[in-house]
């Protein structure tokens, strides 16, 4: 059995794994960069070792350092989380060479799925539907024109080395092809140092729907249904749900079977996710397979009752899957909101900094996976994900209401977050009717948000803060053993300073 796991990650996912370890009687070991000495995952682990300087390249991405720590502390297994080194086959191999069980698939499966072209070849060989196209770098404009002709317009140009929407161009008609190809190639060259572009059929307004699979090391593979992940900003997921209101039982079974096929085709083991593009007429196409735990795994845990992280560890320990496909009991509906430190009104620009006030939601149907706490300074060095707020209820309508209630209870002070954006999404009639695709969020934010209505209460409250600050610092009304709250003089003094700065801001905005 596994007795000690090194968690090669940070933030909420590291804490998620710490919790799974604790619940299984396994010793969770954290690693941390200097910026993360006081991070929540370090506080909650049983052991913790420094990796060095704050930049990820010098800490969480340094294979040698991580493996050295794992060996030194006597870990018999390592969980990579998501991001960082989680899909790095060399890392998985380095763990294996050091005698440490990598909690994930074999390096071989990772390598196949990590290459767009190899993955596509393998999938096509095993009858997994892919978007019609060539998936090889185009040699010339003539070749591009020929292939586009065969596929039929509209077509999509994509960077071979790419991702994140860079080097992507939609081509609606033949006469647009030449300039689009040149633009895509030059953008791809700038972004990835590689101008290779390939061509695919364009799926218009598709949904992004993925299937969670679990495979043990004895050849058993099951799926746990789908997750609807169409709500994205900058090609990154923002809100996910399960089930998808677009997927009926027949489609779920079909996509599930194909996902199991895809995993089996590469001898996959452990947890993984097969991502599909789904067209408005319910055709689906293999997009890629993520050979690791997903950020949004909680929605699947809530609707199936299965603990995916514990399952990963049990599979890595050589156990057989304890459930068969027909035992999976789907019940209810779950939606996850990724609470990011970013400003949706400013092109989602990240907002690291100190969290001066934090109020977390709880109560029925609410699950919070947070990596932060009040007083914590969110570092500038990593991802802006603060926490995942996930709600569960009997049906989609109830879960939407529940999430809105929980978002009302939540407050993050001192930095910007996207909490208000979720309130907008969840109140939007289009979202409530399930009318979403991967362009949904762009359309929503193109319109203007609702206005403020409580100017007078704000004025009143500001005045009362000033007077109560004073009272509490004099009489210690709060009975706080620590002493006074913000003193009135401080609040006023800072207000005066603000008055000057505010003025400067005004100038800039004019």
């Amino acid at each position: 059995m596994i007795q000690k796991i090194l968690i090669a990650n940070r933030g909420e996912i590291a804490l998620r794994i710490v919790r799974a370890c604790r619940e299984m009687g396994i010793i969770p070991v954290a690693v941390y960069s200097e910026a993360d000495r006081a991070a929540l995952h370090v506080r909650m682990a049983a052991e913790a070792y420094s990796l060095g300087a704050s930049p990820a390249l010098e800490s969480y991405l340094d294979i040698e350092k991580v493996v050295t720590v794992a060996k030194r502390c006597g870990a018999d297994a390592l969980h990579p989380g998501y991001g960082f080194l989680s899909e790095n086959a060399d890392f998985a191999e380095a763990c294996a060479n050091a005698g440490i069980k990598f909690i994930g698939p074999s390096p071989k499966s990772m390598r196949i799925m990590g290459s767009k072209t190899r993955a596509r070849q393998e999938m096509e060989k095993h009858g997994v539907p892919c978007v019609p196209g060539n998936s090889q770098a185009l040699e010339s404009f003539e070749e591009a024109a020929q292939i586009a002709q065969n596929i039929g317009y509209p077509v999509m140009l994509k960077a071979a080395a790419g991702g994140g929407g860079k080097g992507m161009r939609l081509v609606r008609e033949p006469q647009e092809l030449r300039s689009a190809l040149e633009a895509a190639q030059s953008e791809s060259q700038r972004a990835f140092g590689d101008g290779s572009v390939y061509i695919e059929e364009a799926i218009l307004n598709p949904r992004h729907i993925e299937i969670q699979i679990l495979a043990d090391e004895h050849g058993n593979t099951i799926h746990l249904g789908e997750r609807e992940c169409s709500i994205q900003r900058r090609h990154q997921k923002v809100l996910e749900e399960s089930p998808s209101s677009f997927v009926d039982v027949a489609l779920r079974n079909k996509m599930g079977e194909v996902a199991v096929q895809a995993a089996s085709a590469v001898g996959y083991s452990n947890a993984g996710t097969v991502e599909f593009l789904v067209s408005q007429d319910k055709n689906f196409y293999f997009l890629e397979m993520n050979t690791r735990l997903q950020v949004e795994h909680p929605v699947t845990e809530l609707v199936t009752g299965v603990d995916l992280v514990q399952m990963q560890i049990r599979i890595a320990a050589g156990e057989r899957l304890p459930v068969r496909q027909e035992d999976v009991n789907f019940r209810g509906h779950a939606i996850e909101c990724r609470i990011y430190a970013e400003d949706p009104d400013n092109q989602y620009f990240p907002s690291p900094g100190k969290i001066t006030l934090l109020q977390e939601p709880s109560g029925p149907g609410i699950r919070l996976d947070s990596g932060v706490y009040e007083g914590w300074t969110v570092p500038v060095d990593y991802d802006p994900l603060l926490a995942k707020l996930t709600a569960y209820a009997e049906n989609r309508e109830q879960v939407v209401s529940r999430l809105l209630r929980a978002l009302d209870e939540m407050f993050v002070g001192g930095i910007q977050t996207n909490i208000a954006l979720f309130r907008r999404i969840l109140n939007d009639p289009g979202f409530r009717e399930g009318k979403i695709d991967i362009e949904y969020l762009n359309r929503l934010t193109a319109s203007v948000a609702a206005d403020h209505q409580h100017n007078e209460i704000a004025a009143l409250a500001a005045g009362l803060f000033a007077v109560l600050d004073e009272t509490s610092s004099r009489d210690s009304i709060m009975h706080d053993p620590v002493g006074p709250i913000v003193s009135a003089s401080r609040w006023k003094r800072s207000a005066k300073i603000e008055s000057l700065q505010w003025q400067a801001n005004d100038d800039r905005q004019n």
Partner: protein, 163 residues
Amino acid sequence: MIVKINVGDNPHRVKLERDGQEWRCELDGRLIQVRAQLVRRDVMSLITNGKTYEVKRDQLGKQARIWIEHSPYVVELSDPRSLASRTRNRSTSGNSRLLASMPGKILRVLATEMEQVEAGQALIVVEAMKMQNEIKSPGKGIVRQLVSEGTYVNAGDVLAIVE
């Protein structure tokens, strides 16, 4: 106690008097009875006319914000003197100070000290959490007090002044 408060650009005058368990408040001359309780630092529970408000306070960069029903209101407390100076400043100043809206690292500086720049010209690239943000000149002018490449800035720090 009398406090002058600006909410956004709107000035308000609030007079506050304790009245047993309540506060007798005059907001721009209108009387409002309020029960107010500081429940923790920066969080106040208000009840007025039976309606409850859970009010929060925070600071982003140099802005003080009051949050009501999850909308932020930028507030400043002022006295006549600071108001006066404010008005004076506003009328005479032709400068634009570029302030950092978020903490981050100065990845690139695209202008040089004393350079003549156009409105919309990119001056500085700030990076945080692998995202990059171009800071553009708000108008035509001369660049001064440029921040240096590689430094870390906080929200509200001056990145440059365009005169």
